[in-house]
């Protein structure tokens, strides 16, 4: 009995320690964000931010675009097979447009960025921990959060919402292609249908989610890296943990945001 209590207590303390570490790091990185800004910040951090934008954003475009196209086709086909039976094939436009702007765009993007970048952040920082590069930074009077994390944070805050827009466009375009081939609906009519089905609120909620997901991915990925102790195998473990934890937290955050928007939106 005592052993179970001890285990529960130990596990609880570990989780609290993790959440505490995440909160402290988030606060430190928000304070450090200014150094990564152009003009007012440090030009080397801004240059590093641009490199990160390329790595997190530009290099993810093919993957996010293809995932969105495939998901758009799947959603349109699955929706059409049911809606056709009740003679409401036209609702496929609403289904795809609303699903992507509110939900699938941010979520698919977050999963892609989590898989690509959270693991990369954790591997990079973890390796720096193992090779004492982070210690070297501290000794040279650099703050590792400013030097390593802030450029990644700024880059993710900028490029993840952009990737979400791309994901939405590709997903909705896939629905349009499906509608063209299945019902000969013209592109103009499809776009008109999309514009009438989505509201500004859908776009804003999707944007808020994308920013929150970017925060989660960067903070979890970097924290896993900073917590690496030991050798190369610890880096491997942290890389896996970064992807698993960031994806899990993204889905939890998505559920929370969706619930908040649902109950405050008068649905």
């Amino acid at each position: 009995m005592a052993t179970i209590t001890e285990r529960v207590g130990k596990s609880t303390l570990e989780h609290l320690d993790y959440v505490g570490g995440l909160s402290i790091q988030l606060w430190a990185s928000i304070r450090a964000l200014g150094v990564a800004l152009p003009v007012t910040g440090n030009r080397y951090r801004w240059k590093a931010s641009i490199v990160q934008m390329f790595q997190i954003g530009v290099q993810a475009i093919p993957m996010v675009g293809l995932m969105a196209l495939c998901s758009g086709f799947i959603l349109a086909m699955q929706g059409a097979s049911e809606l056709r039976r009740v003679g409401a094939l036209g609702l496929v436009i609403d289904l795809v447009a609303i699903a992507f702007t509110r939900e699938l765009g941010p979520l698919l993007t977050a999963i892609a960025v989590s898989g690509r970048s959270a693991s990369a952040f954790s591997a990079e920082i973890g390796t720096m921990m193992v090779t004492e590069e982070v210690d070297a930074l501290r000794v040279m009077a650099f703050e590792p959060v400013e030097f390593v994390l802030a450029p990644k944070f700024l880059a993710a805050l900028i490029v993840v919402p952009c990737l979400v827009v791309l994901c939405n466009v590709c997903g909705i375009a896939a629905g349009g292609i499906f509608m063209f081939f299945s019902t000969h609906l013209g592109p103009g009519q499809y776009v008109h249908g999309v514009m009438t089905s989505i509201h500004l609120r859908d776009v804003i909620t999707g944007f808020i989610k994308s920013v929150a997901f970017a925060v989660i991915i960067v903070q979890v990925g970097c924290l896993e890296g900073f917590r690496v102790r030991g050798g190369p195998e610890a880096v491997g473990r942290s890389t896996t943990a970064a992807v698993v934890k960031s994806t899990f937290l993204v889905i939890v955050a998505d559920a929370v945001f969706t619930a908040i928007f649902y109950f405050t939106g008068g649905h």
Partner: protein
């Protein structure tokens, strides 16, 4: 007045006492070697002198500033007067050797790029790497990496230069070259030098004074001659390379005897 003053330093990890009430004064311009076997606490002491960790109790004053209790701003100021060459160099692998050396100059000074380039070349020349600035750290040998780390540590013209295991992993010739480099740097730049090592030839070549650590305590602090003549059994054991316990050797011998007698070996 001592440039570094350690007073009653106690360090514990998970309730285990690693450093037990250490006190030591390091005078300006002297070369202090922290000598001791594996697990004696010398690297832990070094990590506390460069404020990478906080002790349980006690104080470390560097240039009159207690780095265990000072503000982050004061700590940064103190750190800029220190240069540290880590055991494996801790060079940033994504930067060339000259960019590694230039990094603290670019970030912490307002020097013109041409002056920075000149300072980088001079520091690389001082460690014999003037022709290797364009290479990446992974293209250097172990000894060259350590010398590049010294060049980076010299970048901000520090008053205190700290070496963590400078000879480890190097062949005797390269290790001797590094010893001569340390002596040259001390003579040329009039720095206070702290060297953490367990290599006896290296320690006796470069030291002005030696502080011998055993189980987290100083068992002797004195000049090379005083340490060589010290009759403390632990010091004699270390200097005369006497194994701690011959029981494992006997156990291995017994194991092999048993193995040789076994049916597997006997036809």
């Amino acid at each position: 007045m001592a440039i570094i003053s350690i007073h009653d330093l106690v360090v514990e990890y998970g309730g285990r006492r690693v450093l037990d009430g250490l006190s030591l004064d390091i005078e300006p311009g002297e070369t202090m070697v922290l000598l001791g076997g594996s697990g004696s606490g010398k690297s832990t002491l070094m990590r506390h002198i460069i404020a990478l960790e906080r002790p349980k109790s006690g104080s470390i004053s560097v240039k009159g500033v207690d780095i265990t209790r000072c503000s982050q701003a004061d700590l940064k100021r103190v750190r800029r007067s220190m240069g540290v060459a880590f055991q494996d160099g801790a060079l940033f692998n994504s930067l060339s050797v000259e960019d590694n050396v230039a990094l603290p100059l670019r970030e912490h000074t307002s020097l013109a790029p041409s002056i920075i380039n000149l300072a980088v070349w001079m520091n690389l020349a001082a460690v014999g790497l003037a022709d290797f600035g364009k290479l990446l750290p992974q293209e250097l040998s172990g000894g060259m990496k350590k010398r590049a780390a010294v060049a980076r540590a010299l970048a901000l013209d520090p008053e205190i230069l700290i070496f963590d295991e400078p000879s480890s992993g190097l062949d005797p010739i390269v290790a001797a070259e590094l010893d001569e480099l340390i002596l040259f740097l001390k003579q040329a730049f009039q720095m206070t030098v702290i060297v953490v090592t367990h290599e006896l030839p290296s320690a006796f070549r470069i030291a002005d004074r030696i502080a011998m650590l055993y189980n987290g305590s100083f068992i002797a602090v004195g000049t090379k001659e005083e340490i060589k003549g010290n009759q403390n059994p632990r010091i004699r054991q270390f200097l005369d390379r006497i194994p701690d316990n011959s029981a494992p050797a006997r156990a291995i011998e017994a194991y092999f005897e048993k193995y040789v007698q076994s049916p597997e070996v006997k036809p």
